[in-house]
Amino acid sequence: MRRLVTDTLIIAERNVVRLKRAPELLIGFTVQPIMFVLLFAYVFGGAISTPGYSYIDYLIPGIIVQNIAFGGFATALGLNDDVRKGLIDRFRSLPMSRAAVLAGRTLSDVVTNTLSMTILLITGVIIGFTFQTTFLDALAGIGILLLFGYSFSWFLAFLGLLVSSPESVNSVGFIAVFPLTFLSSAFVPVASLPDGLQQFAEVNPFTIVVDSIRHLWLGGPNNNDVLGAVIWSLVIVGVFAPLAVGAYRRAAAR
């Protein structure tokens, strides 16, 4: 167990150090989210009506959740790369904890997610976002975001090990993640969606997570969203962590 913890931290540290050397990745975590905030706030925002909220208040929780979902792409791409370049073989020939490669990878996403969330919050505050709840509630919201981001990284870890190239990681990943984030309450009220999409959006975990953040940051209605967000996070880890570990074994045995 101690081995798992130290090895996980070593692998996570490796992934974070890598970021410094791959500035194009860092741009994905920093500049790109800011562009999206400005795009939605000033281009689309005027045309979207969000009863009870200013659009910027409404937008920030949604766009942070979307960014955190895409943050896991670092895991998917990184693992894919490690398999193709033979690094997984090296790790597996070392007397290290077997689970640490995946656990370290997903853990390092928490670091990048914290970074992109901070940048988005600062951008949001600059353009007019305000917390309307207590400090503790705001903190709880941040906790839920990081928990959900961590669990979603396991889904992307599975994806990264399943497909053969970084190009397919990107295309398959986009096809999976885009509808999940856009067909939710992240950018528009669910009630404004047409029949069919509306029902999908209501049960979409992204809606539940976004609504839980709106509750914790803006004092919106709860409807068990906070509990729902925690349960969904645990379910996603529970399903995709074993799947990812299985895919890791198979990928390494190729």
């Binding site: 130290t6 070593i10 490796r14 890598r18 791959a22 690094l87 073989d89 070392l94 007397p95």
Partner: protein, 326 residues
């Protein structure tokens, strides 16, 4: 570092591994004594890499057993990993980390402290002539530098047994020579090395024992000299001035050999009974019948000849050639 007991460093018994319908390993038995280099020689797809992956615990065999330093590759996998180093076909280094960061990470994953791992990393960078590049990201390294860093990573924990899977494939001649010298240095310190290669000169230079493997089967084993001797003795090779003289030359030289001389592409090959005096005798016999000689040489069989004789196809044949030969 070296094992002092007489126990073999590597023992392989009847290892079988299938990938779908393909028998990648078809009952291989192998023994490597400690402190020596065992060269595993075979064409692409012969099963060399599969065997290395079984021995380094990356892959489970379907049947058979294998031990490294007496540790079973399945039951004692954890303890075994403490004793081995692996440098694979790809230089398995993190391109976004520097040379020193790569080695430090590997050292820490072996359980060393950060300070210990860093000190060992510096020592290895010096040994492998990478000091100048130690704080540059590995993606800026040349192919030869990456292989050296990969080999250094395999040596972080001073493993008594080292597995090198085609360590010089794709390297330029100068990098190959320097890597060979480094491997020889390790062996001199007592490390046991299992080396796979498709280069005969590499096996000839580095290996104490060679195992020739093809289609997942061990087809010959011995020292380079033993393998060459099994092909018979010295061979005289004669290139004639005029190809039209071939028949006359064959008649003139037949008495020097137990087997009829062969002729391929204008090159006449005669297996001679004894080395001494055979060049002089051949020249005399040919000049007696008035045949002009362009070039004449006496040579021992090379491992290329060994390979051709045992596998029925040339050494670096790709798949198409193998099909033609089959």
């Amino acid at each position: 570092m070296a094992t002092t007991s007489d126990r073999p460093a590597i023992e392989v018994e009847g290892i079988v591994k299938h990938f779908g319908d393909v028998r990648a390993l078809d009952g291989v038995d192998l023994v490597a004594p400690p402190g020596q280099v065992l060269g595993l020689l075979g064409p692409n797809g012969a099963g060399k890499t599969t065997l290395v992956r079984v021995l380094t615990t990356l892959l489970k065999a379907d049947s058979g057993s294998a031990r490294v330093l007496g540790l079973d590759v399945v039951h004692d996998a954890g303890a075994l990993r403490e004793q081995i180093g692996l440098a694979g076909q790809y230089a398995a280094v993190d391109e976004n980390l520097t040379g020193l960061e790569n080695l430090t990470m590997v050292g820490r994953l072996y359980g060393e402290s950060r300070g210990q791992a860093k000190a060992r990393g510096r020592e290895l960078l010096e040994r492998f002539d990478l000091v100048d590049a130690s704080s540059k990201a590995a993606k800026t390294y040349s192919g030869g530098m990456r292989r050296r860093l990969d080999l250094a990573a395999a040596l972080v924990a001073r493993p008594p047994v080292l597995f090198l899977d085609e360590p010089t494939t794709g390297l330029d001649p100068r990098s190959r020579l320097s890597l060979w010298a480094m491997i020889e240095g390790l062996v001199a310190e007592g490390t046991t090395v299992l080396l796979t290669t498709q280069y005969l000169d590499e096996a000839d230079r580095l290996a104490d024992t060679i195992a020739v493997i093809d289609h997942g089967k061990l087809i010959a084993e011995g020292t380079p000299d033993q393998l060459k001797d099994r092909l018979g003795g010295e061979r005289l090779e004669v290139r004639l001035d005029d190809g039209a003289d071939t028949d006359a030359a064959v008649r003139a030289l037949t008495a020097m050999s137990d087997e009829p001389p062969s002729c391929e592409d204008g090159l006449l090959k005669v297996s001679v009974r004894q080395r001494r005096g055979s060049i002089v005798e051949a020249v005399r016999r040919l000049s007696d019948v008035g045949v002009g000689v362009d070039d004449l040489a006496l040579r021992r069989p090379t491992l290329d000849d060994v390979f051709l004789a045992f596998t029925g196809h040339a050494a670096e044949a790709d798949n198409e050639d193998e099909e033609e030969a089959a």
